[in-house]
Symmetry: C2
């Protein structure tokens, strides 16, 4: 607890004793703020307490541009928007030009570059990422040790029943986050665990272990050093991945160790890492999936050194090479250029062109899509 909660605790003690009493030096207790409030008709009300602010806007990924909020007499700014298409969206408040997360919402977007909150509009039918009353897997926060990088965090999903079926071996998906994301983003924003719980309950995906590491070779590569797929990070992360992460996973989880039981997928900068690691190591991964993978044209060759050297062999080695991108994604043009080269070289791949842009709404769609293909 900090000073602010101490303040509210004082209110709580005071108000518990003497309801209606004003607080402290004649100052009234601050008004109760509920935000976000999702209504039955899929409209959403956002609220933010800022008595002294001059302008507050809502910046949400379901809107093209920030929406002005209106100040009430009690200092609460609010706006009701929608109906919003059911999904889970990042948003923030822009308070006199400063972007801030919603202090009343514990659903936070884990990211090293900004702070957003998450709002979920479920609608009348549960979505594939909606928490439902089905058997749930376990999400484990673990550490592994690297001589070069120290203690490293990794989040591991094990499917429902994993703890009880003590001899069963599972296939494993390594799932990489975007450039300024963390090892928590794939679950807190991408709902990877809930998507798999639901797909497994519907018998649409094979039970699998999902390994979500931290994709930056920090502290060797500082957090402000740009994309994950910068060359120096790529070399350090590759070493970390192959030398420490994979052995940790294979020693501590009941995962199958053949290439056909091992997949790698990633988003944006982590999609660049995925292509570089996956396509260049077909003896390790039979399944390689890029979710709006981040790359520049001059990275095509390095990501495909093995594939371009022998396309026919690559086609035979990979069970799935999958790429997805949104029509409005800023990476759409470079990915279409990349696909042209893959076609010229006759490298087989599946492609999904989705609506929308470079978003985690699309990430959830891509994971849902490939999870139904993997290990089958």
């Amino acid at each position: 607890m900090n000073k602010k909660i101490l303040f509210s605790l004082l209110c709580w003690v005071t108000l518990s004793c003497l309801p209606g009493l004003v607080f402290g030096q004649g100052r009234p207790a601050p008004p109760v703020v509920v935000s976000p409030e999702v209504h039955a008709d899929n409209k959403v009300t956002f609220r933010f307490l800022a008595p002294s602010a001059k302008e507050v806007k809502l910046s949400a990924q379901f809107d093209k541009a920030p929406v002005p909020m209106t100040k009430e007499a009690n200092g609460i700014w609010s706006v009701t928007v929608g109906p919003v298409k059911p999904d889970m969206y990042p948003y923030s408040f822009v308070v006199d030009g400063i972007s801030v997360a919603d202090p009343k919402n514990t659903a936070i977007f884990p990211n090293e570059g900004f702070q957003n909150s998450m709002v979920e509009i479920t609608g009348s039918t549960p979505l594939i990422h909606t928490v439902q009353n089905v058997p749930h897997g376990t999400l484990s926060y673990r550490y592994y040790h690297s001589k070069e990088l120290g203690t490293r965090p990794v989040v591991v999903y094990t499917p429902p029943g994993y703890e009880k079926e003590t001899t069963k071996q599972y296939p494993v998906l390594y799932l990489l986050h975007g450039s300024s994301d963390t090892e928590e983003t794939w679950t807190k924003v991408g709902r990877a665990n809930i998507i798999l719980d639901n797909l497994i309950a519907q018998d649409k995906a094979k039970p699998m272990v999902i390994v979500m590491p931290y994709g930056r070779a920090y502290p060797k590569i500082s957090k402000d050093a740009g994309s994950l797929r910068n060359w120096d990070n790529l070399q350090e992360f590759k070493k970390d991945f192959l030398t420490y992460l994979m052995p940790f996973v294979e020693q501590n989880y009941r995962v199958k160790k053949d290439k056909d039981s091992r997949a790698i997928a990633g988003f944006s900068g982590g999609g660049g890492e995925t292509l570089y690691l996956g396509l260049n190591n077909p003896e390790l991964f039979s399944w390689v999936c890029g979710f709006a993978p981040g790359m520049l044209k001059e990275e095509f060759d390095r990501n495909n050194a093995v594939a371009f050297a022998n396309p026919a062999k690559m086609n035979q080695q990979l069970k799935l090479f999958w790429i997805g991108v949104g029509k409005e994604d800023f990476l759409h043009p470079v990915i279409m250029d990349y696909r042209k080269i893959l076609d010229e070289k006759k490298i087989k791949h599946e492609f999904l062109l989705s609506e929308g842009g470079h978003t985690w709404m699309n990430c959830k769609l891509y994971l849902t899509t490939i999870a139904q293909k993997l290990f089958k």
Copy 2:
């Protein structure tokens, strides 16, 4: 990713191609912001990008009052403070009167009422909550299902070796958070898992399972309905705890089921829950620990109905009844009144009067203290 990261990705693509090029419509790329930066001498520099703000202050729990920050020409506000006593502290920036978390810091204080960031000053010697290269336990994010409250989150710590020693049974500590905290606060702010990893490595604590549930009976009791230990929440949470949580834990983890292997502890509002649940159910818990437990005088009786009815029996039933509070804690007076009554009734208890106030720095101290006493 959201619009802001899309913006930075655009910078990244642009800058990767043509270093030094200005961004977009002649606008320079935003400056790199690193915050917080902990120096070798335990001073800390905080930075916040806000070109248009009029006043930015640092509000950190190692300072009594907010400290003004200074704006540089590039729009970055900064301040260097300290040397700061090594510990892990909550902080926020106060930007023109609005409190915001540090957007460059992924260490967030999980809380329903405010948003703070966490800064760790390690100093020259690792502290008991410092991540070290020792065997680490597993932190599992699980769900259990309640007929009344739906799907409920719980975080469970299992000690190092738990997965491999497949027949060993462990004692269990139920550990409750403060009033507007969440099931993640005891690990992300209280470092309960790391404290236990280190104490176990030093052979100072018995390996134990720690169960950290969400302490509010949401959605029956709304998040804005004040303290956890309000009567209605207490009744719903008690039902949830006894009917669903404990059976879930005992069916899914190798925990011992006798009262001497079961402890309960909690902070603030969760300390109130702890006394109510623990002292009134001595057939379930032999170890009851209140960390600055939240209560009003009129709650003394309800929390101690069983104890006051037969103090001698309570003394015989409990192996440890422990209370800790800080000298500057606003709950210090009420807890001293409570202790007087315990002494009058001859109810045995251990007491720790610490420095400082109603803070998570003290929570870490209290957990470190009791973890060395439990199950011995």
